[in-house]
């Protein structure tokens, strides 16, 4: 994939065909005849279905399910959602099914009989996650213990297709349109939830399908000790939004995530409420830019995650410039955080052997913290290419 690969006019049909080809290849590799997918991002990936994602409780109850059969050029979707005309135009009618309720024994039994009509008896099936009702009916659902379907999807989604990259860029543009309105609204006396109100209003007007993260506008304490106790002894981030009023000079860390066409976005910036950053804050930002530049300098297909963490640590004078409960960077796209994780607690050995590939979308989020004077954190979204990387957005770092 090269820098010019971000398409101007992405296609849903081509995106679905590319994904199915990858899933089918993975199924063949693992000797799987059909995938049964419950995880909402896995279902969205396999079918291209777009729906406004609900709260986890409701989403578990209104669970769309996908079945991908080897040799079939269309996925099956069992959906509790209203019948989407776009999807009806894209998928054969006999691949669109009514809802199934897999937390209920009767729902599992009905699904088992539908499934039996889609796959030959004795087929090797794979499943991404279980409900207990499914577990009770294992022998009815599966001729042999199901393999891990999650692994097949994880491998398939790792490298983004050109259409996925283009849809992601549009999703980022939509979320940043909403962020622009938020930034204009930041002032002393404004409540945190008012920023959420402004954000959600503009987000949906701008065309997002769903918000996936209760938006974070965290007022950072000057010192770690002024914040909540943590298991790590480090800063507590992200903390929930309340009706707290912003005050002049507050250091605000933002973090938001939305979906567009089933692709996830990510965004994070540091802002100062009601005044220009002071010299110390500007110095923190300069340090952050140096760390980012050092990481970007080694970021390309073929580099390891360990190359990126080493560059970040060296640029930060020998210590890790990220929060111990998170990472220096993470993959983005089908999920809000997915492989590759760079600098996570999976450990250095993992980072050192993990090779970046062209087509990965990576979010880098170094943190500069100066205890007593808070700190700076932003997120940079980029596409890994054969000879380096290209930025997925050009949202400014104002007021820095």
């Amino acid at each position: 994939m090269s820098a010019s690969a971000i398409l101007a006019a992405p296609s849903r049909d081509r995106m679905r065909a590319d994904r199915l080809a990858r899933l089918h290849a993975g199924m063949e590799q693992h000797g799987i005849d059909a995938l049964v997918l419950l995880g909402y991002t896995n279902v969205a990936y396999a079918t291209g279905a777009v729906w406004p994602v609900a709260d986890a409780g409701r989403a578990g109850f209104e669970l769309p399910v996908a079945v991908v059969v080897a040799g079939d050029d269309a996925p099956h979707l069992f959906s509790p959602l209203r019948e989407d005309e776009q999807l009806r135009a894209e998928l054969p009618a006999d691949h669109l099914h009514g809802p199934v309720y897999l937390d209920v024994d009767e729902g599992v039994a009905r699904f088992a009989s539908s499934l039996a009509g889609l796959v030959p008896s004795g087929a090797v099936l794979a499943l991404d996650q279980w409900t207990h009702a499914m577990r009770r009916e294992t022998s009815v659902l599966f001729a042999s213990p199901p393999k891990d379907a999650g692994r097949v999807v994880s491998d398939a989604k790792l490298l983004k297709t050109p259409d996925e990259v283009a849809f992601m860029r549009e999703g980022l543009r939509i979320s940043e349109e909403a962020i622009t309105a938020v930034q204009a609204a930041i002032a002393p006396g404004v409540r945190q939830i008012d920023l959420t109100a402004t954000f959600l209003r503009r987000l949906f007007e701008a065309g997002a399908d769903a918000n996936v993260l209760d938006p974070i506008w965290q007022v950072m304490p000057a010192r770690i000790a002024d914040g909540p106790w943590t298991t790590t002894g480090d800063i507590a981030v992200p903390l929930l939004t309340t009706e707290r009023e912003l005050r002049e000079g507050d250091v605000l860390w933002s973090d938001i995530g939305v979906t567009y066409q089933g692709l996830h976005t990510d965004f994070g910036r540091t802002w100062i409420v009601g005044r220009e950053p002071d010299a110390r804050q500007r110095a923190q930002f300069e340090r952050w830019q140096e760390i980012l530049a050092a990481v970007l300098d080694v970021t390309r297909a073929g580099a390891t995650a360990g190359d990126l963490t080493a560059a970040a640590i060296a640029a930060n004078g020998g210590t890790k410039p990220w929060m111990p409960h998170f990472y220096l960077g993470h993959g983005l796209g089908i999920d809000s955080a997915e492989m590759p994780f760079v600098g996570s607690d999976i450990g250095e050995a993992f980072d050192d052997q993990y090779v970046l590939q062209a087509g990965m979308v990576l979010v880098l989020e170094p943190v500069v913290w100066e205890d007593g004077y808070a700190g700076y954190r932003s997120e940079e979204v980029l596409l890994i290419t054969d000879d380096g990387w290209v930025p997925m957005t050009d949202y400014p770092y104002d007021p820095f």
Partner: protein, 379 residues
């Protein structure tokens, strides 16, 4: 309306303790030693700690652990903000991307080594591998059914919490309905709902599918969310929010412009259907009676559930035409809270849809909404 909240606090102690006692009683009854919960609403029910809201179903992971013998709660939280004082720091474990870390956390819990029955509310391939290492003596059993039994009947305090949530949902829905006009899109109506919800102090919707321009030609077809509404369209608003974790869901229908005589007649049929559902919604009655109401009225039951439990998230009962045996097996009981749905559709007219949150009391159903849809004008 919610009071002003400027810091994250745990759920109120009485509410928390009543919920946890119910879960411990169900663990006793099912002979479960340790309960490992991944679903956010289950974890909140047991812990009383608000955590970051994210949309969509989650793969199973150990988000909260309850030990029957000691009553100890262990919680996945990197910080103590919002964590009640009965969960000490040493019972908090942080965010991790390393499954070995979780394995060790579970293994280190007092009682893990000797637990014979461990219940979970879901299962993944990774968890199926991990649990035997963390609980070497235990068989893994169904914790979701256990939690459903515990959560099914609401305490009076829970009913109050749902009522408060419904108020915010109604106010937000009214604002969205007020923005309805020709050329407005579903997305724009959703935007108004979400903005109002947040200004009311709530940043967590229960659904993000707020408005639906019903089709004239197919009962459940859904057009693009960017299609502008046209004069005469019937637009269904089905919206909900989570206040302190409790779901407040309401459904209303509005016409774009002045409703036609046919639309008003359809609304009157929806009112009649609602009256019959209300009659059937009696403590002691089988839940299947609610489905029978549609049959008797000669109407197809909607593909979405006619009734489903509201609470800390979504609960039993689940009453759907897709699950007739399940409906027949369930009994409506005092203390259940239902989102009850009346839905009618007519070719060339569209859909009229009403959904009300209802609590069942000893003497019958009681509405939790302040402005019920029945008798409300469409326009």
């Amino acid at each position: 309306m919610a009071t002003t909240v400027t810091e994250i606090r745990p759920d109120e102690a009485g509410l928390r303790q009543a919920r946890r006692a119910r879960v411990l009683a169900e663990m006793e009854a099912a002979d479960v030693d340790v309960l490992v919960l991944g679903r956010e609403a289950n974890a909140r029910y047991v812990s009383g700690a608000p955590r970051l809201w994210t949309a969509g179903s989650k793969a199973f992971g150990p988000g909260c652990v309850l030990v029957r013998e000691t009553g100890a709660v262990h919680l996945l939280s990197t910080w103590d903000e919002g964590v009640p004082e009965d969960i000490p720091h040493e019972h908090l474990y942080g965010i991790s991307f390393n499954s070995t870390t979780f394995l060790e956390v579970l293994k280190g819990i007092d009682g893990a080594a000797t637990a014979r029955r461990v219940a979970t509310d879901g299962l993944s391939h990774g968890a199926a591998r991990m649990l035997p290492a963390s609980f070497p003596e235990a068989e893994v059993v169904d914790g979701e059914a256990l939690m459903q039994r515990a959560r099914r009947i609401k305490t009076p305090q829970e009913v109050d919490a749902i009522r408060a949530s419904v108020r915010v949902a109604e106010a937000s829905l009214a604002a969205a309905a007020g923005a309805l006009a020709a050329r407005v899109t579903e997305r724009q109506l959703t935007a108004v709902f979400m903005e109002t919800m947040a200004r009311e102090g709530v940043t967590t919707p229960s659904t993000q599918d707020v408005a639906w321009i019903s089709s004239l030609s197919h009962p459940w077809h859904r057009s693009s969310r960017d299609r502008p509404a046209a004069e005469g369209d019937l637009v269904v608003f089905e919206a909900g929010i989570l206040l302190d974790g409790y779901a407040g869901d309401v459904g209303r229908t509005r016409a774009v412009g002045a409703p036609s005589a046919a639309a008003q007649a359809l609304a009157a049929r929806c009112d009649e259907l609602w009256a019959a559902l209300w009659e059937a919604c009696r403590p002691g009655a089988p839940a299947a009676d609610l489905l029978a109401v549609y049959d008797k009225a000669g109407l197809p039951a909607p593909p979405v559930p006619v009734a489903r439990g509201l609470g800390l998230g979504y609960d039993l009962p689940l009453v759907s035409a897709e699950l007739p045996d399940t409906a027949a097996d369930q009994t409506l009981e005092p203390g259940m809270v239902l989102a009850l749905t009346a839905h009618v559709w007519e070719e060339g007219v569209g859909a009229v849809h009403g959904q009300e949150p209802v609590v069942l009391t000893d003497s019958g159903p009681e509405l939790l909404s302040a402005q019920p849809f029945r008798g409300q004008p469409l326009g």
